[in-house]
Symmetry: C2
Subunit: 369 residues, 2 copies
């Protein structure tokens, strides 16, 4: 069904609807309010975004009645996480623009669809074998044998922060790992020897205008992002290639908003220096440094895009290291608050559980020429 509205920019005081009440929804709402928008956050529970939204609703993402009420009070809908049910996005799109659209959700919710889509654009992904049922285990094991390396088995759907993954040393481990992950659709991926992980935060406007941020180097621990550093130290030609790859993906999806593209860097001499790991159709943890080190950060640029506005300047004025505050890391806030050059962001969550993202800090330093 075609989008029912024109592409003229939403004026200030319009209401931005946000699906999801977590920290990304909170920072989206804050960015929207800076531009004079009001916000309505819809979440399946009362998360930190409720504290800053103009209004909020609790409801399931599959309750069409509640979603209809929500849709009546907003001028556009966006979302903070890629696991919004596609049916919810499609249902909302009957009455209000949903940006990014349901297609981006559908592609990014399924690793098999995602990898196939990216590969079909001529962009490198890690060699993979889809496993949609026990019948695929043999062909996947055969593929694994040809790679000659360890592999990772990932559930095709609903994985995040390293959840739903299992490391596979030998093809014979595959069947039991598949069973442990619940016999659900999976993808077996070659584990690549990479130099580092980076990501491209690209934003695409309603008219097809695109912009990218400088590329952060990302360090993970236990499957969770710990730290993003800009500049990344990637060779300039590689940075340029990474930006071009992310932009090509956003354009091929006819995407509106911020899209994050995670990549492995395998070294300049590798046949494919950059390999796409995964995409996220939303603002991204590895872009949190943009809030303090750029004229216009990722959250505001996402809001600008979904509101049909011109994109903001992504130029970086400072070098930055973003560090996540995970679980009880956040207890160090009194010290962090007093550290020079430090921008502190606390999400205001009630309880610091292990592995829970409680906040982040951006350490700024003068930009090296």
């Amino acid at each position: 069904m075609p989008e029912p509205t024109t592409k003229s920019p939403l004026p200030p005081r319009s209401v931005i609807g946000i699906l999801g009440s977590g920290q990304l929804g909170k920072m989206l709402a804050q960015a929207a309010s800076r531009l004079g928008f009001r916000t309505h956050v819809y979440g399946d529970d009362a998360g930190p975004a409720f504290d800053v939204a103009t209004s909020h609703s609790v409801g399931s993402f599959t309750s069409f009645g509640r979603l209809d009420e929500f849709a009546r009070g907003v001028d556009v809908v966006t979302y903070e996480f890629e696991n919004v049910p596609v049916v919810a996005a499609e249902h909302l799109a009957l009455s209000v623009p949903v940006r990014p659209g349901a297609r981006a959700l559908a592609v990014s919710q399924d690793r098999i669809a995602e990898k196939t889509f990216i590969r079909d654009l001529g962009i490198a992904v890690a060699p993979f074998a889809p496993i949609t049922g026990p019948a695929d285990l043999i062909s996947a094991a055969t593929a694994h044998s040809t790679w000659g390396t360890r592999a990772i088995l990932k559930t095709a759907r609903l994985g995040y922060d390293g959840k739903g993954q299992s490391s596979i040393a030998m093809p014979s481990d595959l069947a039991s790992a598949f069973r442990i992950l619940g016999n659900v659709s999976c993808v077996l991926e070659q584990r690549l020897e990479f130099r580092c992980e980076v990501s491209v935060i690209v934003v695409r406007g309603i008219d097809g205008e695109t912009a990218t941020y400088d590329i952060p180097l990302n360090e993970h621990e236990g499957g969770i992002l710990r730290r993003s550093t800009v500049p990344s130290g990637l060779p300039p030609a590689v940075e340029q290639q990474a930006r071009a790859m992310a932009t090509r993906i956003a354009t091929a999806l006819d995407y509106v908003g911020v899209l994050a593209v995670e990549m492995f860097y395998l070294g300049e001499t590798a046949p494919e220096p950059l390999v796409v790991n995964e995409i996220a159709p939303r603002v991204h943890n590895s872009g949190h440094w943009t809030m303090d080190a750029c004229a216009v950060g990722q959250f505001e640029n996402h809001i600008r895009a979904v509101a049909g506005w011109p994109l903001g300047d992504t130029a970086r004025h400072s070098d930055a290291v973003m560090q996540n505050l995970i679980g009880h890391d956040v207890d160090a806030w009194p010290t962090l608050a007093g550290t020079p050059g430090t921008c502190l962001h606390l999400y205001g969550k009630r309880e610091a559980r292990d592995g829970r993202k409680m906040g982040h800090v951006n350490h700024l330093s003068p930009r090296c020429p």
Copy 2:
């Protein structure tokens, strides 16, 4: 009555109470939420701060019953404007810390008290004559004659953005101007020949720690701030003197929070190169550039101070020009939104009336060494 709480910092999720629902209250609430605080805005009408506050109340500033309800739900109270009735601040302080305190309000609400206070600190103010009633007109006219310049008659209370002021060419104009201003308490001030207007945004923490921002050069039109530029171009020694003056005032008031000190610069060879014009016990329009050009802006530093936190880094990473969007200036938002290096802030007010502050833009450029 002594403050009933200790000076330990308020933990995240504490509730910051803000008196006043205008754009300053909005930006204070946004800064508070970045640190994980919740907010409760109390306003005598529904202003833009209501759009971003966790909760809000409409009530008069003299309704003690409503103020008591408000006080019960917050951990500290601050305010966005200096015309909060002192009785309201004093009443609230019976049950909850009010920062800055009632004393700063009392001093800054009355130009006679303010100028006397500053002069008694040994800090230069423009020569002035208080006029508390018709009996003072003759001595004021005599003072005016000795100055040999034009003068300005200002109401002692409730003036802002050039309101409640009258230019006086000759002593004989005084009586009628006093009548036109309503026969209320006034102060007659010598109009100084100044090179430029500047301001110091100083923040003082609960333990007496102070920090200042770089000094903006301020340009007014029709009594309203149009533009603030950093760096100001003031000689370094003069900048240093300005910072010291503002810090001395904050310390003498035992101040907690952001204090703005407006000054005239009369030139390095003047007997007093810097003369204080007025102070504002709050975040200030001439400090709006700090939101985008510093690690920690004035709004967050005000919240840090009133919450008993360490102050944030006031270092400036970029050069900046802040331009106010007044009345229908705001209609240019689609163009401004697309201008490189531009950070746009719209307050989300319903109607663009003449003289009404609707938003501001911060134009950033790389910091000149």
